[in-house]
């Protein structure tokens, strides 16, 4: 009898444990996506973004850009594309204006003593950004929704990209302001030496330059196939923005007519340095096909 009572007690306790477990609540959201029925703006769509842009953090010239970006979105997170922008207009930075204000209107008669460039020589030596382009891969980790002043509500996503940056610079031109050793000998002989900088430009500061590029951007969606696109782009390329020598390399020539050895400063690719070049782009993204499905 005692054994029977103990057995019944044990079974009852066991049943209690099972019942308690059955009462526990599970989380029906566990393992589920955060957002359902969201508009799939990206997967399998082709994006074209005409945009305007401007460079910033530049030393001498700010460039305004016009161009476009083409991109194909493999899925919700990854895409690849190519962007190209042309600069039809550049303006002086504040530093350029400050420097110009202190420079003389023309070169000194004796530039061996005072080789200060003139206003025009300084401006003409600068290189300018003419073309910015390059392929990139884009990663879009996040999408969301926001309210502006609790009045305007829109979807957005944020992306990061990286790739190869290609910048084409228009070279500066110091030739009207400089002479070579041969030209100087002729001028000395003719008695017309003076008002020329003694610089040999072996390599101009223009042409294509390659380097890494990266950046981040935002899409603010107006509807299922159009979005406002804002993008910050960073490129790291080698350039000689000022167009003058920076490393002090020079050549020495004996000027027989003067009985002296003179030195000419050499400007070439060794005077280039790696510089950060940053841009801001603002454009309108258009997605094709125009229909955007919804997720499950």
């Amino acid at each position: 009898m005692k054994k029977l009572l103990h057995f019944l007690l044990f079974v009852s306790i066991l049943g209690t444990s099972v019942s308690s477990f059955a009462v526990e609540r599970g989380d029906p959201l566990k393992g589920q996506p955060a957002v359902r029925k969201r508009v799939l703006y990206l997967p399998g769509r082709f994006e074209v973004t005409p945009s305007v842009g401007v460079s910033f953090l530049q030393d001498y010239r700010h460039s305004f850009l016009v161009g476009a970006k083409a991109e194909y979105h493999l899925n919700d997170y990854l895409s690849f594309g190519f962007a190209a922008h042309f600069s039809p207009l550049s303006i002086n930075t504040g530093l350029t204006d400050e420097i110009q204000a202190t420079l003389p209107n023309q070169l000194e008669d004796d530039t061996w003593v005072n080789p200060t460039p003139s206003k025009n020589a300084m401006m003409d030596a600068l290189n300018e950004i003419k073309l910015v382009m390059g392929p990139h891969i884009t990663y879009t980790p996040a999408f969301g929704k926001m309210g502006l002043f609790s009045t305007i509500f829109f979807n957005f996503d944020v992306y990061f990209f990286g790739g190869l940056g290609i910048v084409m610079f228009e070279a500066g031109d110091l030739s009207p302001y400089t002479d070579t050793p041969a030209e100087y000998r002729q001028a000395v002989t003719a008695g017309t030496a003076g008002q020329k900088l003694h610089i040999i430009v072996e390599e101009e500061n223009g042409g294509l330059r390659f380097g890494p590029q990266a950046g981040l951007g935002f899409h603010f969606y107006l509807n299922s196939w159009m979005a406002v696109n804002m993008e910050f782009r960073w490129m790291y390329v080698k350039r000689n923005a000022a167009g003058f020598d920076r490393n002090g390399d020079r050549i020495y020539e004996l000027i027989e007519a003067e009985g002296m050895v003179r030195d000419w400063v050499v400007v070439n690719a060794k005077d280039e340095s790696w510089e950060n070049t940053m841009f801001f782009h603002f454009g309108l993204s258009m997605f094709f096909p125009q229909f955007a499905p919804r997720s499950n």
């Binding site: 019944l8 049943g15 609540r25 599970g26 029906p28 202190t102």
Partner: protein, 317 residues
Amino acid sequence: MKTWAIVLFALFATWTLPAVPAAHARGADDDIIMEEDDTSKPAEEKPADGDLPADTDPAATDPAATDPGTTDPAATDAAAAVAGDDKDTKTKGDDEDARSYWSDIKVVPRKLILKQNRIELIPYMGITLNDNLIRHIALGGEFGYYMSDAMSIGVGGHMYMKQQTDRAYLTGLQQRVLPTLNAYLYTATLNVNYEAAYGKFAFHNKKILQWGIFLSGGLGVTGTEVIPRNAAHEPWTNMNITIQVGAGFRVFINQWLTLWGGVRNYMMQDKFENSNRTQPDAEVGEKNAAARFINNIVFQIGVSVFFPTSFEYTTFK
């Protein structure tokens, strides 16, 4: 006899106690049933499809066949509720449990952080953006009090460490001009911040983070010191009234911690060494200083900590 009494009592306890939490849950289900009674038609009337919520199945009339994830007013037939059929009761219980889970999920959840009547501390570091010749690293912090969930007032400040760029050296080498530079020493401002936008984003459609954009304005002072072009001259300092405007963002990590970033423009009238370099000493130089309007744009990034670290909603969900 005693043994029998003890055993019977134990049996009674183990068989009746599990029903208590179940009854509690079913009590919540009773709330659900009461809501359905409020909105549903009488048992013999079948509501039109357009009257049903989007997640209900208008075709379902058999409680046993009802999908646990849906609600069906027709399933609350009083006859079915009192049926002695164990299978029907068990299915209805499962349906009600499932409905109780889903009813806890709100379409628009509460904001993660409420800020009214809380204090915010923001240690940050920054870097000046818009000077080609001299760069400054800023270290400082901000203290703010939220009068409402969107607006705060506070005081902020930072110290600067200067760093001349390569361009400062190259300007002298290439253009043969020596720039006149001032170093920033400190900035302190009284600020008003307003959260203009608030939103959420999902990271890989798994983790939801909430974020906001704020606008900032303020008034204060900035201390600067000239960097004499003649090394023999002693530098002199200025204290300039400063107007601050800016914008920034914060991403909420939890109830008391956010990642914070912003761009602020500290505008002031500063005094520089005169470009006419005939001053014999620093004193004369200071008297002949040239005034210039300066925009000092600083990018700042930090974390913000709210006190008290927790809060409670005083309204129902």
